[in-house]
């Protein structure tokens, strides 16, 4: 009884005041899409890869953040399991891109890491907070969370602010997805 009560209080739950899809709708309009359904799955050019978007929340006292994850899926040529994460390096300025294996096959990771040099140039100007590349069940999945396309919903002080994905960052984002799709298809 007490355990379930505690679990109910401390377990995963949507933040108070969170309206699923509201930020996604803003992202959709930000990208020039017409409705919520198109914002969850879209392509940025006619023959381009399909990108899925989903919301992720982070709770704070009387406040929450809504971030959007952009997801790209590409069929893998070989079977194998891998979880890798990429981030920029540097103390005050970006000096490069590092890739870390978080699990899975070392050999597959080494092949991926060797190919990543080709996408370093397009990754450098992109303001991504998280970039994970997973391989599972014959499918590559790229999950990218950008600093923009997020929303602060604050109840103290009572503010709400959508952080847009500006035109320049959108351009970089599409270039990154193009480059990653090409790279992963051949991997």
């Amino acid at each position: 009884m007490s355990a379930s009560w505690l679990e109910h209080l401390t377990g995963p739950r949507a933040p108070a005041g969170y309206r699923p899809g509201a930020t996604l709708q803003r992202v959709g309009r930000n990208l020039g899409l017409t409705d919520l359904q198109s914002a969850t799955s879209f392509t940025y050019r006619e023959d381009g890869p399909r990108i899925e978007v989903r919301e992720r929340t982070e709770s704070h006292l009387l406040m929450h953040l809504v971030m959007c994850e952009f997801i790209l899926r590409v069929p893998a040529r070989d079977q194998g399991r891998l979880r890798a994460e990429l981030h920029h390096t540097g103390v005050l300025r970006r000096s490069g891109v590092a890739c870390r294996r978080r699990g899975g096959d070392q050999a597959l990771f080494e092949r991926l890491d060797a190919r990543l040099a080709a996408v370093h140039t397009v990754l450098m100007p992109l303001d991504f907070k998280r970039l994970a590349i997973d391989c599972q069940d014959g499918l590559w999945q790229v999950t990218l969370e950008h600093m923009g396309a997020s929303e602060v919903v604050n109840r103290m002080p009572a503010l709400r602010r959508y952080i847009p994905l500006d035109a320049e960052q959108r351009k970089h984002l599409w270039q990154v997805f193009d480059a990653l799709e090409r790279m992963l298809r051949d991997l």
């Binding site: 209080l9 401390t10 377990g11 995963p12 739950r13 108070a16 005041g17 969170y18 309206r19 509201a22 309009r29 930000n30 990208l31 020039g32 017409t34 359904q37 198109s38 969850t40 799955s41 879209f42 392509t43 940025y44 050019r45 006619e46 399909r50 989903r54 982070e58 709770s59 704070h60 006292l61 009387l62 406040m63 953040l65 981030h87 920029h88 390096t89 540097g90 005050l92 300025r93 970006r94 000096s95 303001d127 991504f128 907070k129 600093m147 923009g148 602060v152 919903v153 604050n154 109840r155 103290m156 002080p157 009572a158 503010l159 602010r161 959508y162 952080i163 847009p164 500006d166 035109a167």
Partner: protein, 499 residues
């Protein structure tokens, strides 16, 4: 679809119900400045402060009907800005919004920074002695700001899942101590439930305490930005605000009566006339009296977490808002700088951390300044309230045709009551023994600077008539459709596949 139909649909959808709306109105009850103000108020005024609280509660109840009507006409995320913009124009909207939130935070945020450490450590005697010898327990609050600033700079989220626990914990703590303090045998003989006033009971004295009492209730409008998320917001919001006010008033009355019943208000410094209840020292005395040795520990931990969580919220949210403003071009480009690895807005975090730290340092962390800060914050809040009331009255007169899912009852009586009450509260804001200049001067300087900025921004940057009100339909249309960064000229194609 017409704007009326869109508005009705907007008001009826939403995912948030009555409990969340209620929680939003009472979420700040355990904030350290609120508790200390209640302790000081009941200590100074006793029964006179209780009367002042009733007056303040009635005023705020009247004010809540105004906020509810404004939110029903304009259920937008801009809330206060949009209400004033439609009633009085952009100049007053910018001034009122900055007054309501930014100026309040310069004062109340600094008070929270100073007090979060003081209120927590005062309950742990040995730690407090140690902290005082190291420069003062207020430095713990500065430490909180710095620690949460650094954590946020590294992209670490503290208190991620603790909101419900914290809110529940704050309420329970205050109510348990209050009720136990009332049930336990009294340690002090009192005339009446709140004791006699040390400063008199005449009308002028009571009015001078209304400003302090208002601080217990400001924040009931925090629920209004939730309007677009509330189910049947026109029905839910006014009831949530009214019940929230009633809940806060009840809790504070119980706490005040218990405090006066259990802690003797002895004179600490005869020369300056400082009494025990004027200081944070009253809190551990009360806790120990009610619950023995465990009392101060419980209350200390409660204040520690409440203070830390409040400061963390400030450090996590406000820098992102500044970053968003910089991306939109409202702030210099330098604020868009992100840490190479963690992609956190470092400069914004630095600015947000420095404001309360430097202000607290300038004040020397002196808790004697807390009441000045609190009252200056009340002045700022009151200014915004007056502007919102004026806007709602103007809209009733100028646009009686607008659809109003909720109408303030007995119009314009609640508006007259709240406005007169707020003006009187501001006029008599300094309690006996305090220099009015200590409150009015910093507030006037901040308000003047805000107004100058608003005038410059509207005239020179936005190049619009600062006093021309916006059309309600335009604001609603923008809320329902247009968004920042909207662009049609890219190659993004809608393929219409549901993920």
């Amino acid at each position: 679809m017409t704007i009326n139909n869109k508005l009705t649909e907007h008001l009826n959808r939403g995912s948030v119900g009555f409990p969340t709306a209620l929680a939003s109105t009472v979420g700040l009850i355990m904030a350290s400045p609120v508790i200390l103000t209640a302790t000081m108020g009941f200590g100074i005024g006793g029964s006179a402060f209780a009367v002042a609280m009733v007056i303040a509660a009635v005023m705020m109840l009247a004010q809540s009907t105004t906020f509810a009507e404004a939110a029903a006409i304009l259920p937008t995320t801009g809330s206060v800005y949009d209400y004033i913009n439609c009633g009085l124009g952009r100049f007053f909207a910018i001034t009122g919004t900055l007054s309501a939130y930014l100026i309040v935070h310069v004062f109340a945020g600094t008070a929270e920074t100073i007090l979060s450490g003081v209120m927590a450590l005062v309950n742990f005697e040995h730690l407090n002695t140690l902290a005082e010898s190291a420069g003062g327990s207020w430095l713990l609050g500065v430490g909180f700001v710095l620690v949460f600033g650094v954590l946020n700079a590294f992209g670490v989220s503290a208190f991620g899942r603790a909101e419900v626990v914290l809110t529940f914990g704050m309420w329970t703590t205050l109510m348990v101590f209050g009720v136990l303090g009332l049930i336990a045998a009294p340690a002090v003989e009192l005339d009446g439930p709140f004791g006699v006033s040390l400063v008199g009971t005449d009308l002028m004295t009571i009015l001078s305490l209304v400003g302090m009492a208002m601080f217990m209730f400001v924040g009931c409008e925090f629920v209004t930005p939730l309007a677009p998320e509330l189910r049947r917001s026109a029905w839910v919001m006014p009831k949530a605000m009214a019940l929230g006010l009633f809940g806060v008033a009840s809790c504070m009355f119980i706490y005040g009566a218990a405090m006066k019943r259990q802690v003797e208000n002895i004179v600490l410094d005869a020369a300056s006339g400082v009494h025990l209840l004027d200081t944070p020292m009253a809190i551990p005395r009360f806790a120990e009296q009610v619950m023995g040795d465990i009392g101060p520990v419980w209350l200390g931990i409660g204040f520690l977490f409440a203070g830390a969580a409040t400061i963390n919220t400030l450090m996590a949210g406000v820098p992102r808002i500044l970053y968003g403003m910089a991306v939109d071009g409202a702030l210099p480009k330098v604020f868009t700088y992100l840490h190479p690895r963690f992609k956190t807005p470092l400069l914004c975090i630095l600015v947000v951390a420095l404001i309360p730290c430097l202000h607290a340092w300038y004040l020397g962390g002196n808790t004697d300044n807390i009441l000045h800060l609190v009252l200056a914050a009340v002045c700022a809040w009151s200014t915004a309230y007056l502007l919102v009331t004026l806007s709602v009255v103007i809209l009733r007169i100028r646009r009686p045709d607008l659809p109003r899912a909720y109408r303030s009852p007995l119009f314009p009586l609640p508006q007259i009551v709240s406005s007169i009450g707020i003006l009187l509260g501001m006029w008599f804001i300094t309690p006996p023994g305090m220099n009015p200049a200590d409150v009015y001067l910093p507030f006037a300087v901040m308000l003047g600077a805000t107004a100058a900025y608003a005038l410059f921004w509207t005239l020179c940057v936005q190049k619009v008539n600062p006093f021309r009100p916006a059309r309600v339909e335009d604001v609603l249309e923008k809320e329902f459709a247009a968004e920042p960064g909207h662009s049609h000229n890219e190659q993004v194609q809608h393929v219409g596949k549901l993920a």
